[in-house]
Each structure stands twice: as C-alpha cells, then as structure tokens.
Subunit: 257 residues, 2 copies
Amino acid sequence: MEKIRVIKIGGNVIDNPEVLDRFLADFARIEGKKILVHGGGKLATRLTKELGYEVQMIEGRRVTDRQTLDVVTMVYAGLCNKQIVAKLQALGCNAIGLSGADGNIVRAHRRPAKPIDYGFVGDIDSVDSPLLGHLLEVGLTPVFCAIMHDGESSLLNCNADSVTQAIALGAAALAPTDLIFCFEKRGVLRDAEDESSVIERITPTSYQGLKAEGIVSGGMIPKIENALQAIAAGVSSVCIKHADDLLTEGGTTIQND
Amino acid sequence: MEKIRVIKIGGNVIDNPEVLDRFLADFARIEGKKILVHGGGKLATRLTKELGYEVQMIEGRRVTDRQTLDVVTMVYAGLCNKQIVAKLQALGCNAIGLSGADGNIVRAHRRPAKPIDYGFVGDIDSVDSPLLGHLLEVGLTPVFCAIMHDGESSLLNCNADSVTQAIALGAAALAPTDLIFCFEKRGVLRDAEDESSVIERITPTSYQGLKAEGIVSGGMIPKIENALQAIAAGVSSVCIKHADDLLTEGGTTIQND
C-alpha cells in the first residue's frame, strides 16, 4: 500500500474554530491515505461544570468518573467527531468518524486502580490493522476520537497522543507511515521563547546530546521519547509542528539516524 | 447477497436500560447481515433543560436550533450510539456506529424554512448502497443514529423512522431486505386496549378495509402507510413488533398481497 499519514490535532486546534477550519482545509488537501486523530478541548470541562458535576483532579490529572465518561463520550465521540467529519465531507474528504469500539478497531483496557484510580481511563492494547487497511482501501479517511473500549461494554477515556501512536503503529503494519503531531508551537525549539529556533531533525543519537545539554526538557521529553519509540517500532518518521504548517516543510522531524 | 434485516428501536427502548440490554442481547443473536437504527430518548430533552437552553416547540414538534443540534449530536451520535456499539461488541456483534456524515453514507437536506422553520431538521435524499454493502460484506453491523448531514458541513437532526426507511431501501438495492420496527406494543392491534388482538398480516388490499372500518387510526396510519410505501419500493416485508419480541414470530407483518 502507498504511504499513510497519521495526523493528530489537540485541544488548542479544536477550541479555535478558525484554526480548526484552516487546518481541516489543509488536511482535506493532502493526497493519498490519511488518518486524523483528535483530542478534546475545553468543551468537556465546561459542560461538566455546567451540568453541575464535580471536576475531580488527582495530581493535576482529571479523574474520569461515570458522569465524566458520559460527558467526554458526548463531546469527543459525538459533537467534535461528527462536526469534523461533516466539515471534511464538505471539503471533499470522505471522512468516517470512529471510536475504538466501532468495528472493535482499537481495543483498550482500564488502567489499574492502583496506585491511583483515574476511573474510566484506558490504555491501548491493540489496533485492528486489517480493518484500518480496509477502510483506507475503499477511500475512507478515518477520524478517531480518543474514546476507546475494553470489549466488555465499557467505554474508556484515553490519551489522544497514545491513541495516535498506537494507530500509527497499526498503519505502519500496512504501509510506510508518517506520523504528524500538530501543536501550538512551530516544532521542538532550541529556545522556548524563539519560534524561529526550530530543531529541524532529531535522531536517536542527536536526542541524547539535546537532552544532556538541557535543550530538550519538560513536556517535550515524553513527546520526543514516544516519537523515538514509534520510529523504533516501525513508523517511518514523526513530525512535530504547528497546525498551520501542515502543508509546509516546517516542524521538527524525528527519524532514524 | 444474503438477506438483510434492518431493525429500528425508539426512545422507549433507549430510555429503559433493562429493555435495551435485553433487546441488544437478542439483536446480537440474529445471524446474518443486519443493521440497527436507533432513535433518541429523553436524555436529549433532559440535557437541554439542564444546560438552561429553551426547548422550543411548534405545533407539538421540537425545533432544532443550533444549541439543540449540538445537544442531540452529543446524545444521539455520541453517548447513545457509542454505548450501544460497545455493548454489542461485548456481545460478539461487530458493530460500527455511524451518522449520515460518516463516509457520506446518508445524505440529507435541511427542511425548507416555510411554512414552519424547524431549524436544523433534515429530510433524507440518498443512501450510499455500495458503501453499506461493503461494510456488511466485511462482517460489520452498522448502527445508525438519526443525525445526518447536508454535504455542506451542517449536521441535521432527522426523524429516525424516516432514516430507517431510507436505509432499508438502500439495503433492498443490495439484497432482499426485511424491515422491523420495534415499539412499545405487540403490533398493530384490532383493539388498542387488548395486546392480544395483534393483526398478524396487513397487505395493500387488506389495509384499505382496516382503514375504512376505523380499526387502524391515529398514529398507526402514517406508520403503516410508510411501511406500504417501503414494500412498494422494494423492501420484502415490514414488521411492527415489541422490542421484547425480536426473536419470536409475533408482531404485525406488512407485505404484498
């Protein structure tokens, strides 16, 4: 099969209608096989509060109790997913919205309640590559939210970056796969204050130096280490870039030496 | 292709978890190709009120303004649809949840604003039979909510009975198709007070008599006339029965003379 692109957008894109529309217009323009994974955005938190449910946090992370699960299922799998699909359809992109439960395409398990019980939060077990390939072969563009299931009737709220990574690995079993994370910066920056200081290329070897020098730090460390894992596991390249730069060369590409 | 069954459940099933679970267990047990269409239930109205939005009615029918559209998209395409899909998956039925926008599988248009503007309410134009056939051929069981789209990025709230009828006609283009409407009665009754007075079979000819005698009246008239239209257009039979009777012989079957 020809190359597959797996592209992730986060809440910062979802929350800004103009940025989202611009991104979707660019996404629709990409030729060939592609998959979109979207995160959540602020609407779920706002809706939780408006409904008078308590937003529970443990160590800065949200607990997905039964009511929160219902809200994120409504917002991510319902409103966000179908609005994106309808917009892509209007742009001529034959999108199909999916949760992990649909076609059992992504299977997850509930995270153990110890040491911390985050509720209905899941970690990914497997992706059905043949089904993914099948949808792509008939010209569909899968659009995933991060709501997965455990195969025992429970829906699970998953981390959208982890879902993206798992789907990229599922795609890599079918064809060479490029993974693109769109976020709010131009890429991995040498200087966090300077958007023009994008590091164009990171390899497993160069990463060790960047980390040792402290150039890569904080929230970028897990992002890059996940990317390195993805390329070690068979993804051709991982690019981290701004949502506005989807069709341009910009961003940081992480690939093998 | 082998026979296809298209089955519709309404709010009365969705709103009662025990009835729903029993129905889904029966549905999962049906062998062969099948499609589920589900209506809404009371959650959308409850959520609309909890969020402080006004529920607008004109001549007894709800107006779908922008906020209502968001709520029904969240509830029908999100929560209801994904919960049903996850439950069917746990029962060994390879369900895939769909709105009309997904794969552009059902195309609708917004109902004209005159004489009455019901807002984002749609009527069905077409069903993509080849795509429907494709999903069925790979062993998937489509589960439709009644949220459709206009191909110009607007989602539309549609009547679930009309969606079901359109999908049954789309299926009938592929293979002999039986359409089953599950509702809260045992079938079309000779005596509305007597659940044992089910009329087993109605044909275009016998319907004229039943209508003239006043045995069929009120809300049953459009149901039966739609069913007669469906069989005239190529659906093999239409059965109206109780959700608990899915696997049994009961109900009223509407078919050609």
